[in-house]
């Protein structure tokens, strides 16, 4: 029998039941030597140690996960927060743009301040967008109140999203600009879903939006990026 190929060594390592390969290894010193090299390399990979979690880690995960599960529970009132959020974000964006276009060094923002303001504004925007996306990903067409509410929120977020996307692109922050671009398209879809109908949105429209969220992993990306941006902003 011809000597084993490299692929065979890998298969033999993982599968002790591949009789033909192991039989060959038993009878061929040259292949056995080569196999030993692969085995040493793969054994070394096994030493990839993991940071320990405490015994209560499962309970900690549950504490984080439970409030975010889509269950029938009394909805929190976002009214006050929702009214203040866009105002706060708009002020941040205005401050950022003012800094961006104010050329006098004595009165303009430093680069660090400018970056921090942008990062915090992006983080704030993404966190609020995340709520809209989460609510819609769990919504049903019959849930008229929820769908209408998220549609209104999406409409408010569209302009803010555009401003932030332009700012990110202007500063060369391509990654955030690309994400905001994707997010903007979904927000527009939500904002433009037909209103004043019963149900609030057709099952097909809602499913299209939910499929887009699902397929692109947009909700997940938004959440990770929001946390990243906040961490970086705080570090600055």
């Amino acid at each position: 029998m011809a000597h084993l190929r490299e692929e065979d060594f890998v298969e033999a390592y993982y599968d002790p039941e591949l009789e033909a390969l192991h039989k060959h290894l038993a009878g061929c010193a040259e292949c056995r030597d080569r196999f030993e090299q692969w085995r040493h390399a793969l054994d070394a990979c096994s030493e990839y140690a993991i940071p320990e979690r405490s015994a209560s880690y499962g309970a900690e995960v549950w504490a984080q996960v439970a409030p975010r599960l889509p269950i029938a529970k009394p909805r929190r009132s976002w009214l006050q927060w929702w009214m203040l959020g866009p105002v706060f974000a708009s002020l941040l964006i205005l401050a950022f743009l003012a800094g961006r276009f104010t050329r006098e060094p004595e009165t303009g923002f430093s680069t660090k301040t400018r970056d921090r303001v942008l990062l915090m504004a992006i983080s704030d925007h993404l966190e609020r967008s995340q709520i809209v996306l989460t609510e819609l990903s769990h919504a049903t067409p019959d849930d008229s109140a929820a769908v209408s509410r998220e549609r209104d929120r999406a409409r408010e977020l569209v302009d803010e999203n555009r401003l932030l996307r332009l700012s990110a692109r202007r500063l060369g922050d391509t990654a955030n600009a690309v994400l905001l671009d994707d997010l903007g398209r979904v927000l527009l879809d939500i904002a433009n879903a037909p209103a004043n109908t019963t149900p609030a949105v057709s099952e097909e429209t809602l499913r299209t939006i939910q499929d887009r969220l699902e397929d692109n992993g947009l909700l997940f990306k938004v959440r990770i990026t929001a946390m990243d941006a906040r961490r970086k902003g705080q570090r600055l």
Binding site: V10, D15, H40, A44, S46, Y48, P51, F220
Partner: protein, 192 residues
């Protein structure tokens, strides 16, 4: 009486949160290990664990009660990890795993297997080389390798978990092993 995974999943599917809590507490540690190996970053791994459970809860009605719940969870986690790695690739912000939180603990854990000075030196070298080597894999290679090598999935399970053909899964694993073997040569040659 303690519920099995399948019983707890069936209860959770009916809206029983206590049942789902049992599943979360039972599988969090294992899921964290998978997520950390996939991402090489503690914070991302913790986020992935939470995201996986939330996603699993939403999809409980799609869980086939004849299948293994943990394999199903791993599949969800592996797919989310792939998404994350792809996002990171776009963002070009990937950091090697030897961060402030993970670094020293790593060395201690690896070194604890054998305290001899020579072995300790190899372990330190490995702790430097392995995260960087894993980082240099493509996201599919890394995901496939982690499932095969650390989680003991067979080729069929890897291909199913990652949504690729068996031949593609096999090739990804082989390419990953080739790259890792090259990158870790100083360590395994010294040990051989």
């Amino acid at each position: 009486m303690e519920w099995s995974d399948r019983e707890a999943a069936a209860e959770a599917c009916k809206g029983n949160q206590y049942a789902f809590r049992i599943l979360v507490e039972r599988h969090s540690h294992a899921l964290f290990r998978l997520a950390f190996r996939m991402t090489g970053n503690e914070q991302d791994a913790e986020d992935l664990v939470q995201d996986t459970f939330i996603r699993a809860y939403r999809q409980l009605d799609r869980f086939d009660a004849r299948a293994s719940f943990s394999t199903w969870l791993y599949r969800i986690c592996a797919n989310r990890a792939l998404d994350l790695l792809r996002t990171r690739k776009v963002r070009k912000e990937y950091q090697p795993a030897q961060n402030d939180e993970g670094g020293p603990g790593w060395l201690e854990t690896v070194a604890a297997h054998d305290p001899s000075p020579e072995r300790l030196a190899h372990s330190r070298q490995l702790a430097d080389l392995l995260p960087a080597a894993l980082e240099n894999l493509t996201e599919l290679e890394r995901a496939a390798f982690v499932l095969r090598h650390y989680e003991g999935f067979d080729i069929h399970q890897v291909s199913e978990a990652l949504g690729v053909k068996a031949s593609a899964a096999k090739q990804s694993i082989f390419r990953a092993v080739q790259k890792l073997r090259r990158a870790l040569r100083p360590v395994w040659e010294a040990r051989a």
